[in-house]
Symmetry: C4
C-alpha cells in the first residue's frame, strides 16, 4: 500500500540523518496521500540505519494503524493535527536539530535577517506560546499541533513552512515529505546564521520588506524565476 509514498517518506527521514539533523532516533518525517486520507510515518524509536520502507507505519487521519507492525512515532498526533488544519501540505518533519532547537529553547522567533531566510520563509519563523499544564497533561502531542495551528492563525502555511515549538524544537512542512525535509535542513542553517548575526550585532533589524518580497517571490509563486522549471529569460 502506498509504495511510492513509503519510499519518499523513508528518503525524507534519511535526508535528516545525512544532513546531521538527527541524533540516534530523534526526529520523524511523514507524508500524506490526500486522495486516500492516509499518512505514512516513521516508527517510534527505531534506528535509522536499519530502517526500511516496510518499517514505516500507515494510519488514517484519526491515527488508526492500517498497516505496519511497529508503533508509529509518538509525535503522530501532531502530524495529524497539521494535516487536518493545513490542507495544502503533503509532508511534515519534526527534528531536534541543534540550532533551530536552540531558538525554540530560547523562546525566540527567528527574525528574517537575510536573503537565505527570505528565499524560504516569508518573514520570521514564529515560536509558539508555551503550553499550559492542562494541554500537556492530556493529549499532549495533539495539543502541540493545536498550539502550532493557533500560532498560524492568519498565516499561509506554505509561505512559512516551519514553526518553533517553545521549549521543544522545530516542526516543518511542505508540499511533500521531501519538501518538508528540505525545509528542515535549510531552517537549521538559517537558525545557525541568525544566531551568529545576533551575537555580532544584537540590535540588527530584519531585512526590508522590499528585499523580503524580492527573494521570496523570485523562488515562490507565479512570478518565480529561480531554477529550471520556469522558462529561460
Amino acid at each position: 500500500m502506498l509504495k511510492a509514498l513509503r519510499e519518499e517518506v523513508l528518503e525524507a527521514n534519511l535526508e535528516l540523518v545525512r544532513r546531521g539533523l538527527v541524533l540516534y532516533t530523534f526526529g520523524n518525517a511523514s507524508g500524506i496521500s490526500r486522495d486516500e486520507g492516509l499518512v505514512v510515518i516513521k516508527p517510534s524509536g527505531v534506528p535509522y540505519d536499519s530502517m526500511t520502507a516496510e518499517h514505516l507505519v500507515i494510519t488514517d487521519l484519526d491515527g488508526r494503524i492500517l498497516e505496519g507492525n511497529l508503533k508509529p512515532s509518538s509525535d503522530l498526533p501532531t502530524h495529524l493535527a497539521l494535516y487536518k488544519a493545513f490542507p495544502a501540505i503533503g509532508g511534515v518533519v519534526h527534528t531536534h536539530s541543534t540550532n533551530a532547537t536552540s531558538w525554540a529553547q530560547a523562546c525566540r522567533e527567528i527574525p528574517c535577517l537575510g536573503t537565505t531566510h527570505a528565499d524560504y520563509f516569508y518573514g520570521a519563523v514564529p515560536v509558539t506560546c508555551p503550553m499550559e499544564p492542562h494541554e500537556i497533561g492530556s493529549q499532549y502531542e495533539w495539543n502541540t499541533g493545536e498550539a502550532i495551528i493557533r500560532c498560524f492563525a492568519g498565516r499561509d502555511p506554505l509561505q512559512t513552512r516551519a514553526v518553533l515549538v517553545a521549549g521543544h524544537g522545530p516542526f516543518c512542512w511542505g508540499t511533500s515529505a521531501s519538501d518538508a525535509a528540505h525545509v528542515a535542513v535549510v531552517l537549521e542553517e538559517i537558525a545557525r546564521m541568525a544566531y551568529a548575526a545576533m551575537v555580532l550585532n544584537p540590535s540588527v533589524q530584519p531585512i526590508s520588506d522590499a528585499l523580503l518580497d524580492k527573494h521570496f517571490l523570485r523562488k515562490h509563486g507565479p512570478d518565480a524565476y529561480y531554477g529550471q522549471s520556469t522558462p529561460k529569460n
Copy 2:
C-alpha cells in the same frame, strides 16, 4: 572472563569515538557485572583505533586487577566509587566532550531548557562543588567520585544519569555501559543547545514542571510509551 561484558564495554568506548566525544586517548567507559562484583574498564592512555576487547582490564570493586596486562584508566577509582554508591547502575562513562566540558569549566549546571533535555534528564544536570586541596592531594580520583556522590544526595541516579565535575568534565552512567555511552552522547548535544539558547536569551527559564514530567515520563518508568518496547496504543 566476562566476554560479553568486554565486548559491550569496548563498543561503548568506540561509540564515544564515533560520535566525536573524545580526542586521542581522552575518555573512558566501564561496565560492571553485579553478580560477580567485577568491573571491565578501558586501559589508560591506549589509542582507540588499535583497542580490542583483550586490552580491557578487569578489576574487583576495590580496584585489584584480576585480568589484563595493561594499567586501567587512571579514573578507575571514580568509576568504582560510583558503582558502590549507586547500586542500580551498570555502566559509567567519562569524557571531556567539548560542550559538556565547557559547562563544567564554567561551573554551571545545565538547566533543563527543552524537551530534548527532559527526554533524558529529570531536571538540571548538576555541577559538583570544586574540590578542596586535601581532596585533590590524596586519593584524588576516588574523591572525585565522592564529590559526585555528595552532589547526588537525595537524587535518583537513574533519573539524572550525568553530572558535571567542576573544572573537569562530565561523568555519565546508566543501566549498562552502552546506556552510559548513549547518555554521554546526548548530554553533549544538550549542552550545545543549552549554550546557544543561553546566548540567545540570557534570562531564559527552565521549562515547566508539567512539560518536564511529560517528556521524562513518556520515555522512562511504568507509563512510558515512546519506542517499541511498550504495547501499541
Copy 3:
C-alpha cells in the same frame, strides 16, 4: 566552446561543495574569457552532484546565452556587473557560507584582526550599504553588482577580493574562477575566527598597518616571497 574554462568553472563550483560552503543548490561560480568576452556560469538550481561541464551556461557580457540548454544562475547579472567594472578579475564566486553570511546579515564589515586575514585581504572586508526599494524592485541582481562597485570606489579589487552584500552574503572574485573559489573558502574561515575573536574581546582592534603590510605583501605583489613561484632566498 571554452572547454578548459568550463572545466575550471565546474571545478570551482565543486570546490565550494567540498569545503562545506554550500547547501543544496546555494552558491555559484563563474569564469570569464577576456579575449572572447564570454562568461561560463553555473546553471540555476541544479544539484551539484549531478553537474557536469556540459550543464554550464555560456553568455556574453550582456547576458545573452550563447551555449547551454539550462537557465544560468539568477545571480548572473551581478557577475556581469563585476566583470565589467573590474577588468582585472577572471572569476566570481557567490556563496551563502555560514560565517561570512552571518557578518553580512549583521551588516558589519570583517575587520582585519589577524595575519590569516592579512595574508588574503589588504584591510577589512567591506559590507555594502543596504539596497533601496527601487534598486530591489527592478534589475535587482544587476543593482546588487552596482552596490558592490560603489562600495569599491577607490579600492583595488585584487587587493580585497571579497565583499559582504548587506543582508545577503559574500561575493568573492580573483584572477580566475579557481582563485575566486579559494578566496571564498578562506573568507569563510576568516569570518569564523573574527567572530570568535570579537566575542572574546569586543573592543579588539585591527592589527597594525605594519603587520597588515607585511603579511599581504609577502604573498602578493612584486616583493612576495611565500610559496614556490618566487626564487629561493
Copy 4:
C-alpha cells in the same frame, strides 16, 4: 639524509590536516636532529595531499638549505629561533587553527579553566606582546621567534608547550615533531572549550593550583602515573 626524521615530520604535518587544523597550505611542522644540528621542515605553499617526505627541506640552524629543491616554509626563521632558545625541544608546529587563532586575534591568553588544559599545560597559554613596526619591517619571522622567547622568559618551555602570537596564531612545540603536532591538536580543543566557558561565565576563574598541579603532574614528570609507560599501581 635524516630519513626517519623526514618521515616523522611529514607525519606531523599530515596529522594537522587529519585533525582539521589547517586549510589549504596553512601551517607547518618541523623537527630537529640535535646531534647533527639539522632541521627538517615543510616546504612553503605546497599542498598537503601531494606532499611526500622528499619534498621536505633540510636546513642548518642558520637556515642554510642543505637538501631539497623547494623553498622552506617562510616561517622557518621562527622555528630556528625557538630551536636555538629552547634546547630541550625537538619539534615545532605552527597553525592558524580556528579557535586558538581566535584567542590570538583577541590578544588574550587562554586561562587554565579545566583539567583538560591542566593535563597538557602548566598554567595559562600565554599571548605575546604585539610586535613593533621595526620588528615587523625587518627579519619579521625571526623577530616573531624573539617575541615568543621574551614571552617565555622564566618559563620552562616543556611545561607550557604553546604560545599565541598576538594577532597571528599559535606556535607549539614538544620533544619531537609528533609531540608538537599532538600539542597543537589539543590546544585547538582547549581553546574551543575555554571560549564557550568564558561565554557561559565571563567571570570564571582558573582552576585551583592544587588541581592544576595534580593534573599536570599525573601526566608529566617523575611522579606521572597516566598511560602505560609507568609501572602498574
